[in-house]
């Protein structure tokens, strides 16, 4: 079904947590390993605007719907970061702009080269590259929803579960946008399918890999995606991705878990 961009922009709001009693975390704090995962999630959410940068270097920024979506998407993800930072703050973990800047500083050359690489590829492959971005975005948003759902299940903390449910609900709309865009661009375009298939299978890594240490990525993936339940969730994401035109058989999430040694 086509994504209704007007309806999305009209109803886009920052996630609300003012009615949730975060003080319960003082009496019933989250374990350290969960806080580490939560911190990773907050970093990823705050970093969204930087992913936008990669997307904007390609032809897609010329399209009004994509611009409208990205404006709202950026803001929603920023507020997810703020919401998670509020939970971390109750645990005396400060995520301020200076800390985020310090993290971004650590990225070094790889990060600086990304927009160039993306742009050159975008220029070479042209409009078909937008299909890669949209499929990539869909894979990331599906992973994010799954990660939040897993976190809620694992912690069994009513306040955290409710907050993560609200965040995941917004992520579901992001999935809807990315999948509608990806499907449209992949359908009946075998070149776009081939390029997307190649890019996802060769380069996709769990969301946050490009801004975190491998240790942190492994920690989060082990925390959320290990064991039979975790693997089942990963398979579900893979099934969604491989259900898009021309992407049948892709198992990029499970492959990434295997590479990280998460079982």
């Amino acid at each position: 079904m086509a994504f209704d961009i007007d309806r999305y922009t009209e109803t886009s709001v920052s996630v609300n947590w003012s009615d949730l009693d975060l003080e319960v975390f003082r009496r019933d704090p989250l374990p350290e390993s969960s806080l580490r995962t939560l911190r990773y999630m907050a970093d990823v959410e705050y970093h969204t605007v930087c992913y936008t940068r990669d997307l904007l270097t390609t032809p897609s920024h010329r399209e009004a719907d994509v611009s409208a979506f990205m404006t709202m998407w950026n803001r929603e993800e920023f507020w997810h970061g703020e919401a998670l930072a509020a939970v971390l703050a109750v645990h005396d973990i400060t995520v301020d702009y200076d800390a985020l800047k310090a993290n971004r500083m650590k990225l070094g050359w790889k990060d600086r080269l990304d927009p160039i690489k993306q742009s050159v590829l975008g220029g070479l492959v042209g409009q078909d590259f937008v299909a890669v971005h949209m499929s990539w975005g869909a894979a990331n948003e599906w992973s994010a929803i799954t990660a939040y759902q897993r976190m809620a299940e694992l912690e069994e903390h009513p306040v955290l579960a409710e907050l993560l449910r609200r965040i995941a609900k917004q992520e579901a709309r992001h999935v809807a946008f990315y999948t509608s865009q990806a499907r449209e661009r992949l359908a009946a375009n075998t070149k776009a399918q081939k390029v997307t298939r190649f890019a996802l299978s060769r380069f996709w890594a769990p969301v946050g890999s490009s801004i975190s240490t491998e240790d942190d990525v492994r920690h989060v993936m082990t925390h959320l995606m290990s064991g039979p339940e975790g693997r089942r969730s990963a398979r579900k994401v893979d099934d969604s991705i491989s259900g898009m035109p021309g992407l049948a058989g892709l198992t990029i999430v499970q492959d990434a878990l295997d590479r990280l040694g998460v079982s």
Partner: protein
């Protein structure tokens, strides 16, 4: 700020203004204006063609945030989480300003011309990213200076729309007051953007002669208004004619630019010249 022109804000250097509260700004960002104003009624009331054309151009210029984001985020500016946090809400507010303006004025003219303008405007992301390697963190001040100057330029048009010097509507008293209220609201929303850009620019350009040098260069070589590529050449020219018809306002614009540390008369003159005023 001169209330009749909306430009020529007093320089803040040496006043030590309180740091801009980015979190507070994000928390109180203004969304859609559709409920607050009867935009259809303003559109129906009939606008002078010159005003309608300017409003349509402003809608395109305000909505061109993605082009600005692309240009600045491929450089070190994306590392500064305080700046990116601001830009997220800034883009959101401008999206809804553009939405309100578009609902009043309708779509801008000559879309073909516009598409061509986008395809050929300015340096591409690769060149900017490569230049950003060398420019490092000083480029952030230059990017924020662009935001400040662009706000001053667009405010020339808002000021003229708000002023009673020209008939706002073909039937004065119909769209006039309602449109005036909307313009005042938009200028109030934008005043926070200007405050952020001005404060950050002053701080950064004042602290680094290199940042000031980069700012001078970026300002001189940029097309004004900044999102000018988003509108066609004819629409841009009409916009500039409308916005810069008052010599005093243009002089105030030049003063506003010169008020920033490190920005000289040559830079201000270059903006005025590039505007074609």
């Amino acid at each position: 700020m001169n209330p009749s022109t909306g430009v020529g804000r007093a320089p803040t250097v040496g006043r030590g203004p309180a740091p801009f509260d980015v979190r507070g700004f994000a928390r109180t960002a203004q969304g859609s204006l559709r409920d607050e104003f009867d935009l259809e009624a303003i559109a129906r009331a009939g606008l002078a063609p010159e005003c309608r054309r300017t409003l349509a151009a402003l809608a395109e210029l305000e909505g061109a945030t993605m082009a600005y984001l692309r240009n600045v985020l491929v450089t070190a500016t994306h590392k500064d989480a305080r700046v990116t946090a601001f830009l997220v809400s800034w883009a959101y507010e401008k999206y809804w300003i553009a939405d309100a303006l578009r609902r009043i004025a309708g779509e801008a003219e000559d879309p073909e011309d516009r598409a061509a303008g986008i395809a050929t405007s300015g340096r591409g992301p690769v060149r900017r990213a490569l230049a950003g390697f060398v420019q490092g963190f000083d480029v952030i001040g230059a990017h924020l200076a662009l935001g400040y100057v662009d706000d001053l330029v667009l405010d020339l048009a808002y000021a003229r729309l708000a002023a009673a010097a020209i008939p706002i509507a073909t039937d004065p008293g119909a769209a006039g007051p309602a449109l005036g209220d909307l313009i005042a609201r938009i200028r109030a929303i934008k005043s926070r953007h200007t405050a952020f850009f001005e404060g950050e620019t002053c701080r950064r350009l004042g602290a680094s002669p290199r940042a000031a040098r980069l700012a001078r260069r970026e300002i001189r070589r940029s097309p004004w208004p900044l999102g000018g590529a988003a509108v066609g050449a004819a629409e841009r020219a009409a916009f500039v004619r409308f916005a810069t018809s008052d010599g005093a306002a243009v002089a105030a614009l030049a003063r506003g630019i010169r008020s920033l540390p490190g920005l000289d008369d040559r830079t201000a003159t270059a903006v005025v010249r590039r505007l074609g005023a």
